[in-house]
Symmetry: C2
Subunit: 371 residues, 2 copies
């Protein structure tokens, strides 16, 4: 497909607005797209060893075809690269290129690379240009919108970071073919989330067409676009996460606690899986509070089961801590403000809302039942 | 003076607007001022050993008087604390307090502390609240406005940083009594700069009343306020330094090169002194280019000499490099974009403007004459 015919989603943030280009085989046009909006800029690519092996050359050739001067920084794959040490090293290597504020940092990779490269770009000369080329489904539908970047601290994940909006996101659906089924499914859970927040029709379409999405059919690009649009709408209303953006945390408060409880062991649980289980728990809890009908809970559970996602804490291999310990993890989450728990609850499929009145006792009683 | 009668300058940045409170003996009211705009927030104070000895207790007592829970982080004094290592340590200590995003980081100190504490605050949970209590004249009239924070890299000063607007700045002119004459003068050079950019009447008042300012008279608070207002006006027009904010660099392109040439040895040259010499060089160069009359150059030189500031490269103790090497330092400065030098030139007192057409050859010839 010619790249200028690709699907585009505009993330409307005033003077910080940018386009997400979505389509098959877009990577080879990265040079043209970058030259079009930032003519004359040099590019430094930040990527990891796995992604570099698969896609770095295509990107380099695309930049070279437009005579764009470029450099590469390759880090180890995995969450451990979201550290102060790797950040410092990446920043040092970018500064060594002597590229300037108007030049570009490209993050080529999944969520870890996007967070790390974006955070580095936000700091160098107080903000270089940033282009994101997400290579996982999760990164394409989630971290490509919203401008969150960051690293992990000893005290917790993503506690150190910045907001930096990219100048451009290139979501090449063709790159997703190299993902494992498990990684693809994990990203799919975040797609479903958008339907469950406030787009019931999108959830219905996914129920109907998920096989097409999973087999890289025509609907994959459309489903990515709908997801990006759904997130972009919420982010545009609340860029710095002071209000409605909390809706995006549907399933995440439970989910983060589960991830923490497994010690972030991705052999046991990856982020998207924790979100799937978290979404079911949020629906079940809402049902218990007489907010959500049992049919909605079952409908969501059925769909997750159909695509092969876990739906209960019991689906996580290995020992899990008790309800009190899980509650502690929930309280350690960023989303606790002045000791009050903010939960995303739901009144049914596509009817999620922000609840500020959930008590620890209610959550504890609920978790005790579930464990 | 009751604190609510203190002079206030509003820095108008839309929803990021904030007040600079200026007056004698304001530090003891810090707790009230913070409680007024951020009720219920906890505070972590970042300061250095020297400032802590002089003023930490006053601030702690003021916070305690309002029942504000608080903690302290004390770093070594001096530019060396603007490093990745100290930043990481400060961030770790702030996270250890378990304070939340709505809590406050207070930077109590000079420019180094403001830059370091502000940068840490910008990153933690992607942005905690920040209150600045500048204790040097330079910090009160310069870094308290504009939201620039950051640290130094091996590759250059201030190359890593973020924009973070404080929620409040408390500029207590009484704290300046503990400054050495040399430090006070260095801050004064930046005050004069605002007059020379576009406020000729302010420059005239300083010429007339500098003795009052230097002896902590009534005009000191007013002069600080005029300076903050002057900078606030420019920053409000160009928050992210893409246009007219460059005016604030009057004297700084030459100045930074001189600082670099002395290896940032503050025994030989402090920042404000380098700015004073840089301002004279900018006026002389403008005169050489037939932009600025010789009388204006002499008027500025006379005033700097009067207050005891250096006015020529020859005033810097020790060996200085030759013109070619100085030119190299100028090219390494952040303010070089796409290889083009941006200089702030002047058509006379209070008539500065941004010049994008200065060539390296012209600067080189000028510097050869000066050395």
């Amino acid at each position: 497909m010619p790249w200028h015919e690709s699907t585009s989603v505009n993330v409307d943030l005033g003077e910080k607005s940018y386009l997400i280009r979505i389509g098959d085989n877009l990577l080879e046009y990265a040079g043209q797209m970058i030259a079009e909006i930032m003519p004359g800029s040099k590019c430094v690519i930040v990527t990891d060893e796995n992604v570099a092996r698969l896609y770095l050359e295509i990107l380099q050739e695309s930049l070279a075809s437009q005579n764009i001067e470029h450099a590469e920084i390759i880090v180890a794959p995995g969450e451990a690269s979201k550290s102060f040490e790797v950040l410092q090293s990446v920043i040092g290597q970018i500064l060594d290129t002597r590229f300037e504020r108007n030049d570009v940092v490209i993050g080529l990779g999944g969520g870890v690379i996007g967070d790390l490269a974006g955070f580095a770009a936000s700091m160098i000369r107080r903000g270089m240009n940033f282009v994101q080329i997400p290579t996982s489904l999760l990164a394409q539908v989630d971290s490509s919108v919203g401008g969150k970047t960051g690293i992990n601290a000893v005290q917790g994940k993503n506690l150190i970071g910045a907001f930096l909006q990219p100048r451009l996101v290139i979501a090449d659906s063709g790159l997703l073919k190299s993902l494992s089924k498990r990684e693809f499914r994990a990203g799919y859970a975040e797609m479903v989330k958008y339907g469950l927040i406030d787009q019931p029709e999108f959830f219905r379409q996914l129920e109907e067409n998920w096989v097409d999405v999973f087999s890289f059919g025509n609907l994959l690009v459309e489903a990515i676009a709908v997801s990006c649009k759904a997130k972009a709408k919420i982010v545009a209303e609340d860029q710095f996460e002071r209000g409605c953006r909390a809706l995006l945390n549907l399933g995440h408060t439970f989910g983060h606690a589960l991830e923490a409880a497994t010690g972030y062991d991705t052999n046991r649980l990856v982020h998207g899986e924790s979100v799937a289980i978290g979404i079911i728990l949020a629906h079940e809890f809402s049902n218990r509070m007489n907010l959500c009908d049992a049919d909605s809970v079952e409908r969501v559970r059925h769909h997750f089961t159909q695509v092969g996602l876990p739906t209960s804490i019991a689906d996580i291999p290995g020992e899990m801590p008790d309800a009190d310990k899980l509650l502690e993890y929930i309280f350690q989450d960023k989303k606790v403000s002045r000791g009050v728990l903010t939960f995303i609850l739901t009144k049914g499929v596509g009817k999620s809302y922000i609840a500020n009145n959930v008590t620890a006792t209610e959550i504890q009683a609920f978790l005790k039942e579930k464990l």
